[in-house]
Symmetry: C2
Subunit: 323 residues, 2 copies
Amino acid sequence: MATQQMRSPTPKGVADAASKIAQLLPKTPLIERAVNGVPVWFKAESLQPVGAFKIRGAWHRLTDLSEAERARGVVGVSSGNHAQGVAWAARRLGIAATIVMPVDAPRTKIEATRGYGANVVLYDRPGGENRDAVAQGLIDQSGATLVHAYGDPWVIEGQGTAGIEIAAQLAERGLDGPTRIVCPCGGGGLTAGLALACPDAEIVPVEPEGWDDVRLSLEKGEIVGVPDMTFPTQCDALQTPATWPINFAVLKARVARGYAVTAAEVRAAQRWAFAELHLVVEPGGAAALAAVLAGKVPVDGRTAVILSGGNTDAGDFAKVLSE
Amino acid sequence: MATQQMRSPTPKGVADAASKIAQLLPKTPLIERAVNGVPVWFKAESLQPVGAFKIRGAWHRLTDLSEAERARGVVGVSSGNHAQGVAWAARRLGIAATIVMPVDAPRTKIEATRGYGANVVLYDRPGGENRDAVAQGLIDQSGATLVHAYGDPWVIEGQGTAGIEIAAQLAERGLDGPTRIVCPCGGGGLTAGLALACPDAEIVPVEPEGWDDVRLSLEKGEIVGVPDMTFPTQCDALQTPATWPINFAVLKARVARGYAVTAAEVRAAQRWAFAELHLVVEPGGAAALAAVLAGKVPVDGRTAVILSGGNTDAGDFAKVLSE
């Protein structure tokens, strides 16, 4: 992966990405609901065309490729939402896309990625196969550009556009920008993007228990990986082994601390989103909401909560509702 | 009910209502998705604060009451969504609200209505008790104003504001207004409102099988009631015995025909909305989508489909997903 361009993501890059996204997609709704009597703003990224915010970074990345790069195609590595984002953007731009996905990813995500016309290559996540090595093998063959799920400046900048929209939507209602943004965190692409997009807001990343490597890394002041990669979690979208230096540089400068939520807290958040917002939110997409509802993260000031995705299997969601 | 004011609803009234709603609530999202390869626009009224479009008509009605009328309170009759709309608007305006609801309404709707601070009076729908008589008794006591769920000019005008928003949202994307709007239909408040709001669009009401009295009325050219009030349906929001003259006058002039959908078609539509839109749509709210997915209503031209509500019990929704 050493050949990957590694410029730093910038606020200017977020602004450029926001202009491009504004021309492509309507803003996702910013829905106000009270939590313990306090108004909170929920950003429904689950309503994006691919069911997750990942479309933002993928679009910014792919539209900045040169003609020669476009002709050689792109390779993505993803458990599902980034996969769909890259596949969606690639089809729209006429770029060939190959996505490396874990064999145990939700079926609905694998099928959707194929549905957008991408070539899906499965790797053995449970067996410990190295996905980056699989991707590198494909890149060595084709000369394709890697579109990393979070360790990429364009991807970080693109994800940050959600924060630009939140500020604009609050302004439309005569309100100042967010003072706090709580977001689900996997590798830290969204978290870093929001930090660049909203310099005046406290950015609060939330990870699933056992996969809270960003929380640990912030605590320690250096990148720490997930201690036990076999720790079970239903938050497939947030199962990242470790954040990357390009992300951590932003996080370390801007984010005070992270939080972890339990599986039960995530399920309770999914049920709350069902009942109060009538939204289908996938487990990983509900992590930030879970931290808020569990009282781990305060909602004073003007708190925005990112509901980052809605791609979950019907059977799994039915089980959560029936609990 | 003879004392109820019965001016006709007008396009001017819809425009007035739209100005009021625009100041109160952000537009609900208009989400584009392909159906059989054709782009269709879905209006997610399920994302309103009360989980249904009913907040529109209730707000228009209550804000036009005089000070003296406000002081005497309002009485609503509703299986649940109109109840919540009236209760929400009444609380916001400091007006006392009593809602007459069927004892077999979804528990979630009764609880939500009480949660907005309304006094709920239950009537025996399964036993055939006349809800209008119950409401009239309450009005005789208090001098309160009846806010009928559909047979009211303000309510009709208010519901029509959804059509104004659809046209505005298409215009924001550089597109002409809708050529067809497919909408769930109970008593015909929304249908009549949309007909006034969008004079150039074909308005297509969809009812559940057995409760398709508007379809029958349009066919016959006069108001026909539901033939069998015991016919089972999961679409509680659309269980209205008959449309009212004030609605039918608009429908007869503007609507060519209605359609009916089966219970299985409604459940399939709920599952499609879950998988493709990540939205929770209640059975009645999915009726129009059901007619589109079943191929009963075409989607050529620029078709908008109203997803009118999302208030459904978790257990019921889990059953639909597990099917």
